[in-house]
Amino acid sequence: MKFGVVVFPGSNGDHDALKAVELGLQEEVVPIWHKDTSVAGCDALLIPGGFSYGDYLRAGAIARFSPIVDAITSFANDGGPVLGICNGFQVLTEAGLLPGALLKNAGLSFSSTWVHVRTETDRTPFTVGIDPGTVLRLPIAHGQGRYFIAPDDLATLEANDQIVFRYTDSKGHEDDAHNPNGSVAHIAGICNQRGNVVALMPHPERAYDALIGGDEGLQILRAVVHAGLSAVSA
């Protein structure tokens, strides 16, 4: 399976993502420059973390004008698996591929720590094979990660099974003390209605080996490999 990691000016999680696929998954992976106009035959795309275009105006707001975003949109509309991580989540909401928006953390500080998230659905290519209720320990590093969506749209999100991860304690119970940024309904990650475009604020690509503090993020990246293989054999 061939992964592509999209690189914007200001991305800083791109090399983490490349290494996670190369060393953690041992799958083929290539960087895709934001000025490229095709996804280079990749089977899955990762939109990495960082500060694309300096977070000018709003985080992710300017990145959507990069030529590659049209190619990402076509890939997503064809059902291709896309994972947005941190700034990648912000880019995907600004590009209209995912609903809602990400705002300055409720506590105003940049949060760099490890958190727990509970997997809410296994219907996406990045959670297939991970039982709902499974708690994963992942790092976060963001200043604008407070997920917001209007109450009516939140109800739609819930009804459509589009909430993929929620912040919880290590046992999988959500409460305000374990919500690191004030996200509505403790949301850490969501997907589009079809389920093929997924994004989360935590960094699964920074948790691919116990040597770097944890390896539970690898389950998310590995899921898409299994999903891809099953799609081929189906």
């Binding site: 105006l57 709003r58 707001a61 909401t93 600004e94 609903p99 809602g100 928006a101 705002l103 300055k104 953390n105 409720a106 506590g107 105003l108 917001f148 969506i149 209007a150 004030g182």
Partner: protein
């Protein structure tokens, strides 16, 4: 053709459109809350609320003030404000040419 183009150019003038972007009332504004607390700490006990936002100045050529406003309104809907979380209002001022 050139006459039409010239007449269009003649009708254009510069406008300054000031864009005030703020979070919707339903959206929690921790920056505003912190600033309010700071003002209260300074002794301004009368301060009840502060909302933080963005201020942008767009200078553009347009045929009229309403044309300038219409154009910048579109810009806000497409880029300058996020319709999920933000609202905006505009103040249009004609600029003196030459």
């Amino acid at each position: 053709m050139s006459i039409i183009n010239d007449s269009v150019v003649d009708n254009q003038r510069s406008y300054l459109v000031e864009v005030f972007v703020s979070l919707k009332p339903v959206v929690n504004d921790p920056q505003g809350l912190s600033i309010r607390d700071g003002l209260n700490s300074l002794g301004y006990a009368e301060v009840e609320a502060v909302r933080a936002g963005k201020y942008l100045r767009v200078t553009l050529s347009a045929e009229s003030a309403s044309d300038a406003e219409t154009r910048v309104r579109r810009m806000c809907e497409q880029l300058l404000a996020n319709p999920v979380t933000e609202t905006f209002h505009l103040v249009v001022t004609p600029l003196n040419d030459h």
